[in-house]
Amino acid sequence: MSSFADLRAPVPDELADELLKRLPYVSEGISNPRLLAGGTRVTFELRKGFESHAELVAGRISEVAVKLCSNHRPGIFKTLAKRDTLPSSFREDPHPLLARQGEIVAFGRGRYGLGPKLVALTEYFDLRARQMAREFQADAHSFPSLIGADVLDRCRYLRNFPASLNLVSHLREDHALLQEFARTVRLDGEQLVYDRGASSGVECLLSPSVCFHWYMWLRDSKLSQPRAITALGKCFRYESTNLAGLERLWDFNMREIIFVGPADYVLRNRTTLVELSAHLLDELGMAYEITTATDPFFVDSYAAQSAYQQGFELKYELLAPLPYSGIKLAVGSINYHQDFFGRSFAIETGDGPAHTGCIGFGYERLALAFVAQHGVDEKHWPDTVVSQL
């Protein structure tokens, strides 16, 4: 049976997706939330076991809508580069085709394996990204998938993106607890069933991004010269029921090129990154847009943080249209953090706290957008790509 929440004020069209993306997090019991025309009512269903929670869930939906919309500042998103023409007439959803070819397998929500053709494609993307990194004399680095809770606390990630965190724990060092766990643990079909008291506290999380490691590496230091590095890393962002195919993964690969130095150094490189990214997407024969954007901040601080990010033009996204759905998928982003990480990690330059910036390419998304636009048959892919696979 469907329930509904009446909102205190209409949700503006430009915030409709932001609201819907946040509704899976209002309660474990909610499913299929929909914002009705006019933006003043959300309908939803309740999972088994949560049938009596309709009023509670409706209240939370209303609260989220108020927080999202109060202090909202309508803005204009700028386009820095674009190419409108799709490279082919292919319009199918490539997921089932790739699955039939043995090129993708879903292990679970947000967890996909890739086959040889898509691996070759992502390796080609990485080759091009590393060539891009060389333009900045960026040194290669490697970081762990685990990241300390202290790092994410230091840069306020814990507070700004709590819904996407992936906490890591292990069993406590206690022989009796380990014996009891080994004796009683079982799988209920989806999750482990065990005594939660046997779990440790959280010292580490799965890293949501690559660049935080580098800022931690440079903590409490004074740079004698600007630094550029590059690293490929596994990244993890929990997105609840928003997880969808290769479009939105829980566990994905991201190549970053990261800059730390004075503001003019970072901003100059950001301009170059826009040009090089556009060139790369042109070379891949893809339709795309590079536009200003905002991050999906936690709803309690969304209005202020997104307005700041938009006003100062701190984030650009590389968007590629998916012909099968009409959605513009972010396959990468270029971020300027001003001196936020320089202050957070006490990284100094001669001019004060270091400024930082980075570009990140999400390889699974880029691969999806590529095959969605060109088709899954490599005979129809650009020669520049095929010749390098």
Binding site: R73, Y308, F340
Partner: protein, 82 residues
Amino acid sequence: MTTSPERTTEQRIQEAISRALGIKTPDSSTPLRMGSIPGWDSMGHMSVVMEIEREFNVRFPPYRLPELVDVPSIAKTLQTSV
């Protein structure tokens, strides 16, 4: 632009900035500028902006936010926003 015979626009801006950042209102010779006083960094900027908006009952669009970096620039932006 002055709405009170006792307090100039600049004084009201200074007081709003002080409230937003939780600092003592400085005298007019102390430069209040983003990045040069404790708390007025990227995190504190929106607190300053929202306190200015409450004081003057205005709402700045995002593209105006980078202009609001000190008392004279805020006063100037207010003149063009009201």
